[in-house]
């Protein structure tokens, strides 16, 4: 079986992942809507997953892909719990703007 990366080049995937990850970070910092922040986190997770798969192919090793499965499981769990928390915050504050969540003030 041919190594696809020979034609595309691993560095392209690295750049793509980095850009995706940074978009995620930008989203988290830029937006105040908690749902969009969640979505940004998903983008970051996907960037990492993509890099996992790229390196899995690079090393011709299935372990990288197995890790993606676990990462997905964790992401699914995280989203389920996180959205549940958001729902209950929304129920209490009628808002999911993080600027309204100042109860952590020291």
């Amino acid at each position: 079986m041919q190594n696809i990366l020979q034609q595309i080049g691993i560095e392209n995937y690295i750049y793509l992942s980095v850009i995706l990850f940074c978009i995620g970070i930008f989203g988290v910092l830029y937006r105040r809507n908690a749902i969009i922040m969640f979505m940004s986190i998903e983008i970051m997770l996907n960037a990492v997953n993509l890099l996992f798969v790229a390196f899995s192919t690079f090393h011709q090793d299935a372990q990288g892909q197995v890790f993606v499965f676990f990462s997905m499981a964790v992401a699914a769990a995280e989203v389920a719990v996180g959205l549940a928390i958001l729902v209950s915050i929304f129920r209490n504050l009628s808002s999911i703007d993080i600027d309204n969540l100042k109860n952590l003030k020291g």
Binding site: V28, I98, D99, L101, N103, L104, K105, G106
Partner: protein, 627 residues
């Protein structure tokens, strides 16, 4: 079999202690007393067995339990040694201990903390047995500290009285000073010989002739002697013993007359081979012994508290014992320890009986004429008083005479001092007797109404001890001494034992007896013929005042040691502690200030947190991969 029996001997009082301390309150006073007494009786019976064993075989018996401390060259076993000396000591410790426990059942019956009292007494006996039975100096040290602890607990037994607590603390601290000396001596011996075991130490010292030139041996001997002055109440550490009379009277009898205070003499006798190498230290011991004897006796002349008189008498008698030790006459000192244990225990218990009869009255000025009300107490105390005064043929006569003879052959000045102390002893003891038992009763009407002889639990020990005080001298008659033969294998040298009964000796005996009679006569003319009663505290004048105030030694110590230490600690508290606490507080204040500033960073703005988070991750990445 013997090993188990030795353990029974050792552990029976400990079992008694554990029972009394944990179950004593529930068990009730009767059971507490019986258990306490029986546990000591078991030890006594076991001691008797070992005594007969050693009498028949003549061989010491060693019990090695386990290896305790193992360093490269330095080994200490947890071992016990039952030889002539320790068995002899065990005999009278447990024997007198049993009698005093029996006595305490009645004496302490009205005390709410009787179970505690018996627990402490049992613990004391346990530690005393440890001290005596120990096969090396370290075990001796355990016992040494343990009896010190029990002494503290028992002196302060009536802890609701602050004066008693102070007396307990004084005893503890004074003993601590001496204990430090003992410990240093122990370290030096361990450093020199790599062992603390008696037998090994003895062979190491006797086989090594170079050791004579080593000044450390002399220092070790001196340090051991300092330890002994603490425990056996010699100058300069004697002041705790008279104050220790704050404890219940059985405690004074057991600990502060018969057993614990003789631990110093036991230790010196045990380590005689070290002291024999240091003649200078022996001279020091003799001088200090004589000085203590006369100092304490002179203070005893004017004391009015019946127990204080006996306490100073004890210090004085211990001084005489050290006088004998100083001349290397260990068996003589041991002899006097034994006879003294008999008659002094009897005297203390008798005084306890008197105090009991008078419901706590201790001042002799408020006694008098008790002879008819308390005949048994009177007669037993009379026998013991005659014994301590050195009247032929009671036990004190023989033992004191041996000491004075030894002193006479060693140093005539010390003999004179010792003799004067003996005359004083006769005087103040008969002063005590006359003031207490003769003349008219000087107490209140109510006390007079309640005067009665003590119950048989109190009088039986008194009678037994009086008999022993009378015939105790038989164990070491001059010329044919059983005790000297018995101790000969241990002390090995034994040249002091050979006092040939010549003209000098008979003259000395006669002089001692005349001296004792002189003291008695003086007391008789003063207190019986003239019917004098010691004046009230405020009316004491002249030398008597100095004596009554104990030569102001306590005050001198107060000025010399206690107050400077207080001032030093005040200084440290007021300046150093303030300084250090300010420094320490400063750290807290800085942290607090930082925290107040840092609090404002944590303003609850999640956006800011995320921003900081991203920056942090970036810097970690930079640090890990790019720097």
């Amino acid at each position: 079999m013997e090993k188990n029996l030795a353990l029974v001997l050792l552990l029976a009082p400990l079992c008694g202690f554990l029972f009394n301390v944990f179950l004593g309150k529930k068990a009730g006073k009767g059971i507490v007393g019986i258990v306490g007494t029986l546990s000591i009786l078991v030890s006594f019976v076991a001691s008797m067995y070992f005594f007969s064993l050693i009498q028949s075989t003549g061989k010491p018996f060693q019990v090695d339990l386990f290896k305790w401390i193992t360093l490269e060259k330095f080994n200490v076993n947890f071992s016990f040694l039952l030889d002539q000396l320790s068995v002899l000591w065990l005999m009278f410790v447990t024997g007198i201990g049993t009698l005093i426990h029996m006595y305490s059942i009645s004496y302490m019956h009205d005390d709410e903390n009787m179970h505690k009292f018996f627990a402490y007494l049992n613990l004391f006996v346990f530690f005393m047995i440890t001290l005596v039975m120990g096969g090396n100096l370290l075990i001796l040290f355990i016992g040494w500290e343990g009896v010190g602890l029990c002494s503290y607990l028992l002196i302060g037994f009536w802890y609701k009285n602050q004066d008693y607590n102070d007396a307990a603390k004084k005893a503890f601290i004074m003993n601590r000073v001496g204990d430090l000396g003992l410990l240093i001596g122990l370290f030096i011996l361990g450093y020199l010989f790599n062992t603390l075991d008696y037998a090994t130490l003895k062979t190491a010292i006797l086989s090594n002739s170079d050791i004579l030139s080593n000044p450390l041996v002399g220092i070790a001997a001196l340090c051991l002697f300092i330890g002994a002055t603490g425990k056996s109440a010699q100058i300069p550490l004697y002041t705790w013993l008279p104050d220790a009379m704050a404890g219940p009277t059985p405690v004074s009898a057991l600990i502060h007359a018969a057993t614990m205070v003789t631990a110093g003499i036991f230790m010196v006798t045990r380590m005689h081979f070290v002291f024999d190498l240091a003649p200078y230290v022996q001279d020091v011991i003799a001088v200090i012994g004589a000085a203590t004897a006369i100092l304490a006796a002179s203070i005893g002349l004017v004391q009015n508290d019946i127990k204080k008189v006996l306490a100073y008498s004890t210090v004085s008698q211990l001084g005489l014992m050290f006088l004998a030790l100083g001349f290397g006459a260990y068996e003589v000192a041991v002899f006097h320890v034994i006879t003294h244990a008999f008659f002094k225990a009897c005297l203390f218990l008798g005084s306890g009986s008197v105090i009991h009869g008078l419901h706590g009255e201790q001042d002799m000025r408020n006694m008098g004429g008790l002879r008819k009300a308390m005949p048994i107490t009177f007669w037993t105390m009379m026998i013991s008083t005659l014994a301590i005064s050195g009247i032929f043929p009671l036990s004190g006569f023989w033992s004191k005479d041996e000491i004075l003879m030894t002193a006479f052959h060693g140093n005539i000045v010390l003999w004179v001092v010792g003799s004067i102390a003996s005359i004083m002893t006769a005087f103040y003891m008969f002063r005590l007797m006359y003031l207490t038992f003769f003349g008219e009763f000087r107490g209140t009407e109510e006390q007079k109404h309640h005067l009665h002889e003590s119950p048989s639990l109190i009088t039986i020990p008194l009678i037994i001890l009086a008999i022993l005080a009378a015939i105790g001298g038989l164990i070491s008659l001059p010329g044919n001494s059983w005790l000297n033969h018995y101790l000969a294998p241990l002390l090995s040298k034994g040249e002091h034992a050979a006092h040939h009964l010549g003209t000098t000796e008979y003259v000395l005996m006669a002089v001692a007896t005349v001296g004792a009679l002189l003291g008695i006569g003086l007391a008789y003319s003063k207190y019986i013929k003239n019917g004098e009663v010691p004046p009230q505290d405020s009316e004491i004048k002249g030398i008597a005042k100095t004596l009554y105030n104990k030569y102001y030694v306590d005050e001198a110590y107060e000025t010399l040691f206690v107050n400077p230490i207080y001032r030093l600690s005040h200084f440290f508290r007021n300046y150093f502690e303030v300084f250090f606490s300010e420094v320490v507080f400063a750290f807290g204040k800085i942290a607090n200030a930082i925290a107040i500033q840092g609090k404002s960073i944590q303003n609850g703005n999640i956006g800011l947190y995320l921003f900081a988070f991203v920056l942090g991750v970036s810097s970690i990445l930079i640090y890990l991969f790019l720097v």
